[in-house]
């Protein structure tokens, strides 16, 4: 199990590098007003109401949460002395945080005007 999580951290990390490059390219280079740093609702809306982009952005968020919270678990485990039961509590708490965070992010795209 630990080995799978360890490999998963590498795989999600590599995916995040690719997604981040794409995200940067789209958000900061493609359109003129975004390139100037004018991040307005109108400029964002055109892209964000497209279901394909929504799927990509949500996948990006989920992979980032998986990677970030798994990394947080590593940090917590390394600097604390918890037993098997404590480890399970830490995992459960981080899973709950991840679920709430994911829901929050997905909800951001719902019912856009």
């Amino acid at each position: 199990m630990a080995a799978i999580i360890w490999y998963l951290q590498r795989i999600t990390g590599a995916l995040l590098v690719l997604l981040l490059i794409a995200h940067f390219f789209v958000e900061h280079f493609i359109s003129e007003n975004l390139r100037r740093g004018d991040l307005t609702y109108a400029a964002i809306r055109a892209r964000i109401t497209n279901p394909v982009w929504q799927a990509i952005d949500i996948a990006f968020l989920l992979i980032a949460l998986l990677h970030g919270l798994s990394g947080t678990r590593n940090v917590v485990m390394d600097y604390s002395r918890v037993g098997r039961r404590g480890a399970r509590v830490v995992t459960a708490v981080l899973c709950a945080v991840g679920a709430l965070w994911a829901w929050w992010g997905v909800a951001a795209f719902a019912n856009l005007r």
């Binding site: 590498r10 590098v17 100037r36 307005t40 964002i44 964000i48 980032a64 990394g71 992010g105 951001a108």
Partner: protein, 124 residues
Amino acid sequence: MKDVIRKYGGPFSGMVAQLVQRITGLLLLVYLFLHVRTVYALREGPEAFDRAVATFSSPLFKLLEIALLGVVILHALNGLRITLIDLGAKHASQRRLFVWSLGAGALIFLAGAIPLFFSSVLRR
């Protein structure tokens, strides 16, 4: 522990890199929280979103954005370096890998930071 340190580089580079990786990782999680918070304002309509974004266009936040770029590059390149070592990069090439990732990181950072500084920080 000793062979872990030997595996990832010199006597200090591995430990420092690991500490940097953890600190930058946690910082990026804090950023992700703020980012989702801002994007969530899309739900409340154009005025709320533009107001949320306006907070981040002050010169101070633009400087923090440049710092964020540095944090992302440190975390991403160090992570790729660790992955390459785990995939079996030879010991002799590990130090070269370290130097190369530092050099590439500095170049990417400057390529992003210089235009950001002139177009965003000095513009207002």
